[in-house]
């Protein structure tokens, strides 16, 4: 490593520490920015000599990254990872710089940044989950990310790809790649995939597969497939039996396991055993102690697809639910997506509309016939609801709640 790189790492750590103790951030992003300013080729230097796997998706990338890292560790492979969810170049540099030893890096990367980090990291594997609408004011984003992913896949013949065969945008992005392992995760969210990514005709959807009658674009045959609680592999069926909740985590796990088995050659049973007992993944779930001593679970929901998955998981339980929504840039400034999410699933539960946009949530619930109270402070709202409480929070609400600055 060059002297300049070592200075950059040192300066970055100091900045990160200052940022943490002054409570201004989780530290990682700040220190990464300082590092990159001092040594712009830092990513190359901290990544060199390692086997780098990049995990990206609109939803589930933090969890998939953690699960893949755990699956590799279970086979005795030391792994470094950006486990705090800092997933842009600065955060990647900080995470790698902090942990110079391990030969394998499993890195969550923001969808838009994938094309720009593949080369500096000399990545050998891309793990691609799904592409759905995220923050609404970023218009046309799904398409433009798919175009950029496609360019990367087409221009890197040595790059291996493990990808979700059930997502039309992902399949189109990965089409030009030469070394692909498909895993069919099922397609519970189709609203952003009505038209064919290749020719713009209407896609035909049957049960869980898609095809375009106009141009022949279709779901590829996948040697790996999620079937309820089971990952079907060419060698047999593996029971997932996860401690992590919800259908979406089974999809994350199936994607991570496919990468561990197909690309890294880890024994399937051993890999599954390595992730089965994982209970919490930072960046997605957390808990907060309430004034009355109870613990509330806090879940991040970033977009309509994410909200829908969380609500489907909550529906059959008897928990109370706080819906905490802001509309800053990171949440999406336009909360019209509230009407794309089936909040009707919460009918009959104790529910609170909360966050800066509590009134938008309340009006949505009212038109969905979901009785509720309005309380802008999510912790006060949680404290007022009976029994077990889950707070489902938009991005900036989640970061406030988990940083404890309320």
């Amino acid at each position: 490593m060059s002297l300049r790189a070592r200075v950059a790492l040192g300066a970055g750590r100091a900045a990160g520490w200052a940022s943490r103790v002054t409570g201004r951030g989780a530290g990682t992003q700040v220190s990464g920015r300082v590092m990159l300013a001092i040594a712009p080729d830092l990513l190359e230097q901290v990544g060199s000599g390692r086997r780098c796997a990049i995990v990206s998706a609109t939803n589930g990338k933090t969890t998939t990254t953690r699960l893949l890292a755990e699956a590799l560790r279970s086979a005795g492979i030391p792994v470094t990872s950006n486990h705090t969810g800092a997933n842009m170049p600065a955060g990647l540099a900080a995470a790698l710089g902090r942990d110079p030893e391990p030969r394998v890096a499993v890195l969550e990367v923001d969808e838009r940044w994938v094309p720009r980090v593949v080369d500096p990291l000399a990545a050998e594997l891309l793990v691609l989950g799904n592409l759905t609408r995220d923050q609404l004011d970023r218009f046309g984003e799904v398409r433009s990310i798919a175009v950029r992913w496609r360019e990367v896949c087409g221009s890197h013949p040595n790059l291996a790809v493990v990808a979700n065969a059930s997502d039309p945008h992902v399949v189109w992005s990965v089409e030009p790649a030469t070394d692909v392992t498909w895993v069919a995760l099922g397609a519970p969210w189709r609203s952003d995939a009505a038209t064919c990514p290749r020719c713009a005709a209407l896609l035909d959807w049957s049960a869980d597969t898609f095809a375009c009658r106009a141009c022949g674009f279709a779901q590829p045959d996948a040697p790996y497939r999620l079937d309820g609680e089971v990952l079907v592999t060419p060698e047999g069926r593996i029971d997932l039996d996860l401690a992590l909740p919800g259908a979406w985590n089974r999809m994350n796990a199936a994607l991570a396991l496919t990468a561990a088995i197909a690309h890294f050659g880890i024994d399937a049973e051993r890999a599954a055993a390595g992730i089965r007992d994982l209970e919490m993944v930072s960046g997605r779930f957390s808990t907060r102690r309430l004034a009355d001593g109870r613990d509330a679970r806090v879940l991040l929901a970033k977009n309509p697809a994410g909200w829908t998955e969380v609500l489907r998981w909550l529906a059959p339980t008897d928990t109370s639910v706080v819906l905490a929504v802001n509309a800053h840039l990171a949440d999406g400034r336009d909360p019209s997506w509230l009407f794309d999410v089936p909040y009707e699933l919460l009918r009959g539960k104790p529910v609170a509309a909360s966050g800066e946009r509590a009134l938008d949530v309340a009006v949505r619930l009212d038109y969905g016939d979901v009785s509720h109270v309005v309380e802008r402070d999510p912790l006060r709202a949680a404290n007022g609801l009976p029994g077990e409480v889950v707070v489902v929070a938009s991005y900036t609400q989640f970061t406030h709640l988990t940083r404890g600055s309320w």
């Binding site: 609203s191 209407l202 336009d334 509230l338 009134l359 309340a362 009006v363 949505r364 038109y367």
Partner: protein
């Protein structure tokens, strides 16, 4: 207000034209009927299917480029059915991409100019930059509506043909984004039983009297039973306040620019 059949609220191509919570507009219309004891149902017209001529309200929502082109193709193929329905008194309510499709032509994402439905004379072309943010509109006085609040997010600029009137005058935000001859900014279009607007949010949950105007047209009355809209009133007050702060900031910025 006695009807033999339920009010049929048509949600047109929700997979293609549903980018901005457009289902919310349908939900609001149905709920506001039900709360008054009037039977109503949402009829979803799936992408690729022709439009039926039997709906009471046709809702056209917002959509991205490819989706808008596909929706336009389907709608043009059904224009005879839509004409029949309008002849029988059906109401058309169109938002964003839906508004653009009502017109004679619009510019697609790749710059091509494509035919719209031609229900009203208006044309949409690409503009520089997107119009994003809270919008406040003072509706045409003939509608006797209160101030409209919504959120806009579009790249198109829509010019109304001669003699075609807007839904209202924009006091905060951009709306159609093309100044009228008197320099005013306007939003949307207003014609016989037809309203188009750039406001989403979606717009009807925030503007219950606009929802009731459409329902009044369908039910043939302008005296619908008032509903308890306390929550909505609080939300309206909050959004209008926010938007006016934004408008003041924008005007200050403009003044600085002209001075400096």
């Amino acid at each position: 207000m006695t009807r033999e059949s339920p009010v049929r609220i048509g949600l047109v191509y929700p997979d293609l034209l549903g980018t901005y919570g457009d289902r919310g507009n349908a939900l609001v219309l149905v709920e506001r009927c039900r709360r008054r004891g009037v039977e109503a149902e949402i009829v979803e017209v799936a992408a690729g299917e022709p439009l039926p001529d039997s709906l009471d309200v046709y809702l056209f929502g917002g959509g991205e480029d490819d989706a808008q082109v596909m929706a336009a193709a389907g709608m043009r193929a059904s224009s005879a059915a839509l004409d029949r329905a309008r002849g029988g008194g059906a109401v058309v309510f169109a938002v964003c991409a839906g508004l653009q499709l009502l017109g004679t032509s619009y510019a697609a994402g790749d710059g091509d100019v494509l035919d719209g439905l031609g229900l009203v004379e208006l044309e949409t072309r690409a503009g520089e930059g997107r119009c994003i943010g809270e919008v406040v509109v003072e509706p045409d006085p003939s509608l006797r509506l209160r101030t409209l609040t919504g959120f806009e997010n579009h790249g198109g600029r829509t010019r109304l043909g001669p003699g075609v009137g807007p839904l209202g005058r924009v006091t905060v935000g951009h709306g159609n984004g093309v100044p009228e001859s008197d320099g005013a900014t306007v939003d949307g279009v207003l014609a016989d039983r037809l309203i188009g607007t750039y406001l989403h949010g979606p717009v009807l949950p925030r503007n219950p009297d606009l929802a009731d105007l459409l329902l009044g047209w369908v039910l043939g009355t302008d005296a619908l039973t008032p509903l308890g809209d306390t929550l909505v009133e609080e939300l309206r007050a909050e959004r209008l306040h926010e938007a006016r702060l934004r408008g003041r900031r924008a005007r200050r910025r403009d003044r600085r620019l002209t001075r400096g």
